[in-house]
């Protein structure tokens, strides 16, 4: 399960960022921020074609000792970044992909909401509850 989920707009500012251990939030914000560089590198055509240019899922961006960071870019250049706990080795690529799919579907729903202005922070409760369902249950 994810420890931190972030939705970054095309202009590289966060539309939605939430992490589970609510203390030490800054560390996750910083991690997401640094991962943006890696995302840009992966989607630029000049980089070596390590990632299939046509795919939306970017895969593992970079691992740290405690956490692994995954990325996903939509066609509208909105980036989803997910930080998962490294100790949770049972998490497979397919599960991460399906989590990103769910995120993308919810984001699309938020976008189609006529009361939502593109570029604002996401405040939808449905989106919140979907993200909560993906995150670790910390007691």
């Amino acid at each position: 399960m994810a420890v931190c989920v972030a939705v970054i707009a095309k202009e590289n500012y966060p539309l939605y960022i939430r992490s589970i251990p609510t203390e030490n939030e800054l560390k996750f914000h910083y991690m997401v921020h640094t991962s943006l560089d890696v995302v840009d590198e992966k989607i630029s055509a000049m980089g070596k074609a390590l990632v299939d240019q046509r795919e939306l899922y970017l895969g593992l961006l970079y691992p740290t000792e405690d956490y692994k960071v995954y990325g996903y870019v939509t066609n509208s250049k909105v980036k989803f970044v997910m930080v998962v706990d490294s100790s949770n080795t049972a998490l497979r690529d397919n599960e991460i992909r399906s989590m990103f799919r769910k995120l993308h579907n919810s984001y699309t729903d938020v976008m189609c909401n006529p009361f939502y202005n593109p570029g604002d922070r996401i405040q939808s409760r449905a989106f919140d509850s979907m993200v909560t369902s993906m995150m670790i249950q910390v007691c």
Binding site: K10, I43, Q53, R54, E55, L56, V73, T74, N75, S76, K77, H104, N105, Y107, T108, M111, C112, P114, P118
Partner: protein, 189 residues
């Protein structure tokens, strides 16, 4: 299915609704009327813009990432147009320097209108929403653009007093959408 008719009717009502709300009921001068017209068209275009943004997000959810601008324009011509108007764009031309001309020979939103010269000037009201739709879609995909539309009717019979013996079928209005993706100057109406 009745889907197409629904959107067509909604769109027609939308246009007349916007114009009715702009009418003050007082006597307006010709200049003011022109200004009102411009404002209504802008309103319609902005509505289309927002709808376009949402639609594009939904349609590109499952497609692969776009390689370049031309790829995006082809997507608009084929998938996007098919999903919204149930047909593809008939002709796409470009000058490879940021200007694309999309030609639709049988534009769904205008086919129900009779083709007389007097209606041509009003056709722009009905194209504003679609222009906004394209502009919104492109903007969400990262392309700043200006979209203009023009309508040219089928080549009419020359006015020599000859009358065709057989009844002429309704000529179709052929709107052409011109998108110029010139990032240096973006004009926001």
């Amino acid at each position: 299915m009745a889907d197409e008719a629904l959107f067509l009717l909604l769109h027609n009502e939308m246009v007349s609704g916007v114009y009715k709300s702009a009418e003050q009921g007082e006597v307006v001068s010709a200049a003011k009327a022109l200004e009102e017209n411009g404002r209504c068209i802008t309103k319609l275009e902005n509505m289309g813009f927002r709808v376009g943004q949402g639609l594009i997000e939904r349609f590109t959810k499952d497609t692969a990432r776009f390689k370049d601008e031309l790829d995006i324009m082809k997507f608009i011509c084929k998938d996007f147009w098919t999903t919204v108007f149930k047909k593809q764009i008939d002709n796409l031309r470009t000058n490879h320097q940021g200007i694309y001309v999309l030609q639709d020979n049988k534009f769904r939103l205008l086919t129900q209108m009779s083709a007389g010269k007097q209606y041509l000037e009003h056709a722009s009201k009905y194209l504003a929403f679609t222009c906004g739709l394209i502009r919104g879609g492109l903007s969400n995909l990262g392309i700043k653009s200006i979209v203009t539309a023009e309508v040219s009717s089928m080549p009419a019979y020359p006015d020599t007093g000859l009358h065709p013996k057989t009844p002429r079928s309704q000529p179709e209005l052929k709107p052409r959408v011109r998108c110029s993706t010139n990032c240096a100057t973006q004009v926001l109406r």
